[in-house]
Amino acid sequence: MVDIGTGLVAIGAALAVAGTAIGAGIAEKEIGAAAVGAMAEKEELFGKGLLLTVIPETLVIFGLVVAIIIIGLAE
């Protein structure tokens, strides 16, 4: 069994990823809806739309980095 401290660290790391993932999801939802709307008007915008949609994914990367830092600090 792991001790409670390690468990809390794990929860902290999970929160970092989960929070940023939810945030990125919300942002991508908005962008995705707008991108599909733009594509309905002009199909050539597919490339730009797809690209803009993945922009908020940086948030999750930050979350991951923070999670690794949290785990790193705990050791």
Partner: protein, 604 residues
Amino acid sequence: MRPEEMLQVTLLCRKQDASQVVKILADLKAIHITDHQKESVGNAVIDIGKPFAQAEELSAALVATRNLLSKIPAAESSTPSAESSLQHRVARVREIALRYAEHESISSTLRQELGQVEQQLDLLALLDDEHIESFSARSVETVLLKRNKDAPTINAMRVKQTSPDTFLITVKHGEPTEFPGCERIDLTPIAHLKGSATALRKELRMRHTVILHGIDEQEQMLKSFSEHHQFLAESEPLFTFELLMAQAPLHFGATERITLIRGFIPKREAHKVQERLDGIMTLIDLAEVQDAPVALHNPEPASGFEALIKLYTLPKYHELDPTTLMAFTFPIFFGFMLGDIGYGFSVLTLALILHRYSVTRPFGSILGLSAVATILFGVVYGEFFGAEQVLGFHLSPLLHRVEQFDIMFTIALGIGLFHINLGLILGTINRARAGIMHALAEKGSWLLVELGMLATASALGILNALTIITYDAPWSVAIALLAAGAIGLLWSEEEHGVLKARGIIEMPMMFSNLMSYMRLVAVGLASVYLALVVNSMASGMFDKGGLWLAFGIFVLLLGHALNLALGLLGPFLHSLRLHYVEFFTKFYEGGGKPYRPFGAMEGT
């Protein structure tokens, strides 16, 4: 590294030669014509040219062709129509359109009549054997009523039930024709008919059959037009092209005697153009330019990446064209993320298929290079569809990316530093035209900011925690670097003694830009873990044996197909994003006008 070099040309020819010149220019496919603006030279006015005589006829033919193509289905088997002259084609299209319209009009008249007859038949069916002309007697009014089931009995001069729920009522003129629970049926459509309902029904049924037959005949006729589909489909692009030729003078300048054409030609083709136009056209001006339409010119297979540049925005004429650089960095990023021998060969197969077709060829080149990088990184990571063992052969990884991800992060950060600084250097070159000192100061300041950010990260212990660099820089160094960078930015953006703070506001961007390269590791880890999960699930099933074997194979195929799809999309988009967002923002302005040579059209 630069867009195609262009020369500005001004051409002059006699008006009667104009149509011949247009043909030559269209054939050359080299000149990008710029629209002429009405101008006066001395007391002569150079107006915008008028289209050639055949333009009107051609545009009518084109409209008719497109209209017919939208209505006529393609024939099941088609043979290419015989070569024929343009005049011949225009005449034939006109004749086809006329005949088609005729049949269409007959068909629509028949359909209208069919509707009427059907309506009349419906009404007559409700009238048993009544005589229609008796309805319009002078003193009385005859009304057909539809009675609801539970309506009260109808009280009138004469009431006759003509069908299960309709009643024919005769009332005196002026008396109410409304009865509770009853609905009046309009008899106008049959009011003009004469004779008994039975006889009329018989007559109309015959007419109905005749009309249906007529409509069928017309439909057959209209369908038979599909034999012309091939001819029309061939004529459409031809007409489009010829119309473009005929309307070309709208872009030219013209006086009563001469035609003036201005535009741009690639420097490489200048000689060829001069030779072809010799004798018929005078080249009165050939000049080096500051601004011109942009044509990208890169060697194969890097040219495939031009599609990605166009997707973002074309560079301005005087800007650097990053296509060739991207052809190096993009596949490296892609391979760094996907890095798997098995997936690499799968992507390579896809790339070879895409490369066969002209539409998808650029993506074939991009994926091909990326696949090669993926295989190379796969060898480094020692991965084959996520597994380290292939048929008992152990792939010994040079770098184990799951266990040694701290090294991976260090490499990713290094790649980020390299990439961003490359962008800054390119930016200095782009800006050098406006003043080398300012350009150096601005990009140099960003370099200081970058170092400052690294020092800050180190001081905060982030780098240490990521086990990238186990050295914690003192805060004083971080602050000093950041301050120096900020001052440099302020100085480099100063205009006419006014300080601008845009650079300072954007300083934190450098930090997030650098951190963004961590995705190179993160996306890859996600892909590896998914592959590992699929493999362990499948091997669990293989151990059970029997029918589980089939399930295992199914899981293996489905799982890796899914992971490959994700592995294509993820690394591709993230690699692209690192270029567009992190790299291009350091130097790239874009917004160039595309070079569109006259006469070059899709499909011709």
